[in-house]
């Protein structure tokens, strides 16, 4: 009993001496979080390198006919864990299966990747099976197979993939090797496994996509403008606009764009309006427009609006009386023109559809009793707009 107690005590002491302090645990947890984040970032780039390797094997096959190959080892950057190795291994198997022109037939060989021990008169050797082809032969695994080794490593700012094919004979000759590197800051090419292209072809596709509609696009926009209610009196009604025009991207990156649009608004028996508008947009999320993620633009602009109709009486600098409102409803109403300045945000998805909102100041009516202010930052913003845009 005393011996058991002593054993338990020593185990406890041993466990206590190895237990990490809370600070160390927090550091370990933080390191793991950073590792996971980096693995997420480099995973697509690693897949890209695997694709590139398979493209080179497809375009210039090592073997003339389909040949059995053991996927012997896939290793990933030191510090990023085995989970990423499994993902890279699965991706490699997927693209090899989808590209039989590579003439590499993946085969299952548990003895090749297992640790084997061979004891002979000269020595006892412990190693992986593929390092001892003679032992594999004794285990009944046919010789002459090939083993594929793949290694991905982070070297500074670059991710480097190395691969080699070794014939599993006694001399273990390397029959093919491949090294390819890419920068992790390069966008992943996202090639289809059954339609692999070379890096230059994929890059050309990417640039074509970047320039898909050239520098000029035609937006079609539905906008609603509301006007802030004054402390007293009648507010101007909301206006619904249909707008179209042209938008010009300054560079391929579409970081800066400008647009000129004209618009028309019509509500029967209420009002009509026409407008012209110019804006300059600046991309806020990144330095180039993304094809896979939404883009947020900020913009400033100016518009000239002309409205008329029975419901446009509020576009005045004077207080409206009840008689004036009733009289306006019975007549066509006055025709009023004014200028505005805008500032807003525009969220776009793939340059196909966008949602935007903006604040607008109307200098002519800054002191009008018929308009309140949504926001006042030195300047009062009397109008708030929301828009849905489609690009063609």
């Amino acid at each position: 009993m005393a011996a058991v107690t002593g054993l338990l005590a020593s185990l406890w002491l041993s466990a206590a001496s190895h237990a990490a302090s809370p600070v160390q645990e927090a550091q370990q947890a933080e390191l793991e979080r950073v590792r996971l984040q980096i693995a997420d970032q480099v995973q697509l780039v690693a897949f890209d390198l695997v694709d590139e390797m398979v493209v080179s094997l497809r375009d210039d096959p090592v073997f003339d006919k389909p040949t059995p190959v053991v996927l012997a080892d896939v290793t990933v950057p030191v510090g990023l864990g085995a989970g990423m190795a499994s993902l890279v291994e699965n991706h490699l198997a997927t693209v090899l299966l989808a590209n039989p022109d590579t003439h590499l037939q993946l085969v299952h060989c548990p003895s090749c990747t297992a640790v084997v021990v061979h004891s002979g008169p000269e020595a006892t050797v412990i190693s992986r099976g593929h390092d001892q082809p003679e032992t594999l032969e004794k285990l009944g695994v046919g010789t002459g197979q090939h083993a594929l080794f793949v290694d991905v490593e982070a070297e500074g700012a670059f991710l480097v993939l190395r691969a080699r094919l070794t014939r599993l004979t006694e001399s273990q000759p390397i029959v093919w090797s491949h090294t390819v590197a890419t920068s992790a800051s390069t966008p992943a090419l996202l090639r289809q496994p059954d339609g692999l292209t070379t890096a230059s072809e994929a890059r050309a596709e990417y640039l074509d996509a970047l320039r898909d509609r050239g520098p000029i696009a035609v937006p079609l926009r539905f906008a609603v403008r509301t006007f802030a209610r004054p402390d007293e009196g009648v507010a101007a009604p909301p206006f619904v606009w249909l707008q179209s025009g042209v938008e010009l991207g300054v560079t391929d990156a579409q970081a800066w764009t400008s647009s000129i649009l004209v618009g028309y608004s019509f509500i029967p028996q209420a009002y009509q309006g026409i407008m012209g508008q110019a804006r300059v947009h600046r991309l806020l999320t990144g330095r180039a427009r993304s094809h896979i993620k939404p883009d947020l633009y900020g913009f400033v602009g100016a518009a000239v609006i002309s409205v008329w109709g029975p419901a446009t009486g509020a576009f005045s600098s004077e207080v409206l009386t009840a008689d004036e409102i009733i009289a306006a409803l019975e007549e066509e109403g006055p025709r009023t023109s004014f200028g505005t300045l805008q500032v807003g945000l525009d969220l776009r998805v793939g340059q196909r559809i966008g949602l935007s909102t903006f604040l607008e100041t109307i200098p002519d009516y800054a002191n009008s009793p018929n308009f309140g202010n949504y926001v006042r930052v030195g300047l009062g913003f009397q109008s708030l707009g929301s828009e849905v845009t489609f690009w063609f």
């Binding site: 980096i38 030191v78 510090g79 990023l80 020595a123 390092d131 290694d151 500074g156 080699r164 001399s171």
Partner: protein, 207 residues
């Protein structure tokens, strides 16, 4: 005027460290200076084309953030892995001067580095660098007996490697038509790797 003259020193262009950027932050980046033409080709839309008024020989500094930030790996491993491509290429280039005298041989690679995982990667890179130069390379590693290793590991490296080379030859582990490239780290504090070759029992360090 004098204080204005010091501003570029206090606030240098990114990613140089200065008042606004720490040295640790600057160390996250690898930078290279490339020609304007190459920069426009490699990074379309991200490099501003030069205007006719600008210097036609304008160069562009491209900086990439390192993939793994400091602290994620052992500093020694990080230093070795960061320059792995250059190290492997340098070893392969250093063998070029020896090849005419060696004739048709098969090249073997062995790595002596404290961390096995990193050692595998060094070996992988070296083999590929040799293959790139159209050499005949094998995945085989020559072996020594446990008793040989027992003696060799007690000797200083300057004596151990020539002795090991002799033993490889005497035991037949390394054939006459085979050359072993051994990539070694002589001191665990070193971040540079040395390479030597063993052929027909003779050992020599590569320059």
């Amino acid at each position: 005027m004098i204080s204005v003259a010091f501003l570029p020193l206090l606030f240098p262009a990114a990613p140089a460290p200065g008042l606004a950027r720490s040295r640790a932050w600057a160390r996250q980046y690898d930078c290279e200076r490339i020609s304007d033409e190459v920069a426009l080709q490699r990074y379309p839309g991200r490099v501003r084309p030069s205007s006719p008024e600008e210097d036609p020989d304008r160069t562009v500094v491209i900086c990439h953030q390192r993939l793994l930030s400091e602290g994620l790996r052992e500093p020694r491993d990080e230093a070795v892995l960061r320059d792995l491509r250059d190290t492997a290429d340098a070893i392969a280039v250093a063998t070029e001067g020896l090849r005419p005298g060696l004739g048709e041989v098969t090249w073997l690679v062995d790595v002596h580095y404290p961390d096995g995982e990193v050692a595998d990667k060094i070996g992988f890179a070296t083999k590929n660098a040799l293959m790139k130069r159209s050499l005949s390379v094998s995945d085989r590693v020559p072996l020594l007996t446990a008793s040989d290793l027992g003696v060799l590991t007690r000797m200083p490296p300057e004596q151990a490697y020539p002795k090991a080379c002799r033993r490889y030859h005497d035991t037949g582990s390394l054939g006459d038509d085979e050359v072993l490239v051994a990539v070694v780290q002589l001191d665990v504090r070193q971040t540079t790797l040395l390479a030597g070759i063993c052929h027909q029992g003779r050992w020599g360090w590569l320059p």
